[in-house]
Amino acid sequence: MAFHCMNCNGSMVFDVASQKMRCLHCDSTCDPDDFVFRDESPEAGGQAFVADGEMAVFTCQNCGAELESTEDSLIGFCPYCGGQSMVKRTSDSSEVERIIPFQVSKEQCLELYSDYARHVRYLPRELRDPEYIKKFTGIYMPFYQYDAEFDEVYLTGTKTVEHNRRYDVENTYRIDGTVEESYERGVTFDGSKYLDDEISARVLPFDHSKERPFNPGYLSGFYADATSVPPELYLEDARVRAEEDIVNAMGDELHRTSGISMGSTSSVHTVVTGHHSMLLPMWFLTWRKDDRVAYAVINGESGEVVSDMPLDLRSFAFGCVIISVVLFVIMELLFQPTPMVTSIVSLVAALLMAYGIRLGAKREYEQQVHAYDKGWGGGDGTPVEKEVAKVRRRKRVEAKGAKRVGEVLSIVFFMLFCTMTLGMTIMSSSTGSSLLKLALPMAVLIYAIVVCVRILKWRKYIGRLDPVVAIFVLLATVVLNSAIVLISPVNDGWYYIGDAVCIVGLAVSAVGMLKTYNVSTTRPLPKLFDREEV
């Protein structure tokens, strides 16, 4: 199938502003829903499609050139004549039912992105270049929508009916009942194995009032992908999400009408009753670095910008210089620290950086084992596959609410730890107690070793040496500065050496972790990278 004008046989593309198909040659328009395809099946002398592994070979209906496309593509573009063809798939297991046409034009997309990029710090210069960002490509991505039905309701809640200084009177409620509601196409998950679940979750929601029954005419001028993961993959997630949504909605209603705050043990029996396939519009900008690629994605309906762009290390270094100069000026006006203070600051900085390294390494580890990308699956029983299962089990537990509490507790504990050790160090300077003097160096040393052990455990999954190098350099810094604090040499030069080593250690660690971060923001090259602006 190709998008030819019924008047002049020229190519037609979907015009976002008018929401109609427009002929590039004679400028005539037609409603995508009224567009009639000519019969250009292989039998009628049209395109031929042969599946060849993940690549598919088809014949351009304009010029007859033999072209390749990915098996998961719905649309193919001919680089020789610029013609566009709908590629028929050999095994079309999931028919597209509905589509939200692009509401954001390429011009609006560039404006939105430029506006967004102005507020993003340390973006690589290339990604601010007006010429480069013209590479934004419109792609319809496949999504699944799930229907759900609810019946038995079990809600718990509390309401404070009397409150004074001495006591509160709290009523507890339990509500049992039945909900006679269905949740039609209420939960959405992406159906492409190439689109990371995290990015697709961030680019949601779409305004479903703009949905239309699917007609290939809407695809003209854009790329489109077919589903590449089975709908069953998200069944349980859809059930949980639907239940969450209905429980939250009932909780809000309960609180609004009767002032009762719903408890966390509330539940609604939920059953997923069906699923639908649909295409949603997105603008993609890809930025390639070696064999990896980073994305900026714009919701083609709402204009929401989501990006996972890497940090530019040169801009980061410049930022460090600016912040250091500002801090230096402030400190010169307010403080006159002793050289010993520099060593203590170095130790505290090393402690915080160790925390940062741990967070960064954990994030990289989780990404490598696809903890947040359910579409990924090896199924080969390799060690990575086993680790994936283990991490996902843990994530499931964390999803029950433990994650937030755990994160808050770990931050509180870490802050207490820092405050306590720093307090002991300050006390040691006034009391001269060498035992208290030991507190900070020992605490930092122990924490750095704990982080070191944890990173070595993650090492085989992370695949990069940066976090390991970073933590070992930091460990060396901690050992040197701990020795300086404990020995308290008379010569100031030792403190300066310790501090200089700390600066080198922090710089190496920061750059190493940012490189790791940059890797975690990028992904292996997917098929859609090869797509050019159309």
Partner: protein
Amino acid sequence: MRRLSVIALLSILLCMALVPGVALAETRTFKVDDQASLLTESERSKLKQDYTKLTEYIDVALATVSKNSSTTEKYASSYMQKTFGSGAAVVFVIDMDNREIYIYSNQAGLATISRADARAITDNIYKLASQGKYYECADAAFSQILTKCEGGRIARPVKHITNLLIAIVLGILVNFFYAVWARSKERSKARVPQGPQGASR
């Protein structure tokens, strides 16, 4: 006549008020108490001679000690109390027992030599003491105290170096966490699938 008597009485009272001040100015001293025998007699005399001008502003003492069971600061404080009482004074202590030098100003003396000034001066001269050049060390200390008393500025290289190093350390740290925070805050709004079995309530 009665008016003259009142003026005379006021004049007498004014003179009485000024007398202690004049007397105090006259009694300001530069004391060299070299218990640790670090200086020669001629060095002690030369110090007194060179820094007599200090007594125009403040009481000054150089105290060296070879046996000290407490900290240098406590020793300096008690020496100050014993020697000068509560008048504005500065004591420079070379404590051979603790291997420490210390400049101590009492409450009244802090207006002239603040704690930060004292620390800056000791930072500037500690290497001379480490090398055993005690006269040069004391000479440099009193020279800088005099500069401060005369309203001049003293060099503070240690302050600049430590502030610079701390600023760089904090600059890297703050920028690193800012960069990571700024990028990761966007991710928090995503509701992603949680695992093969999904989450259960």
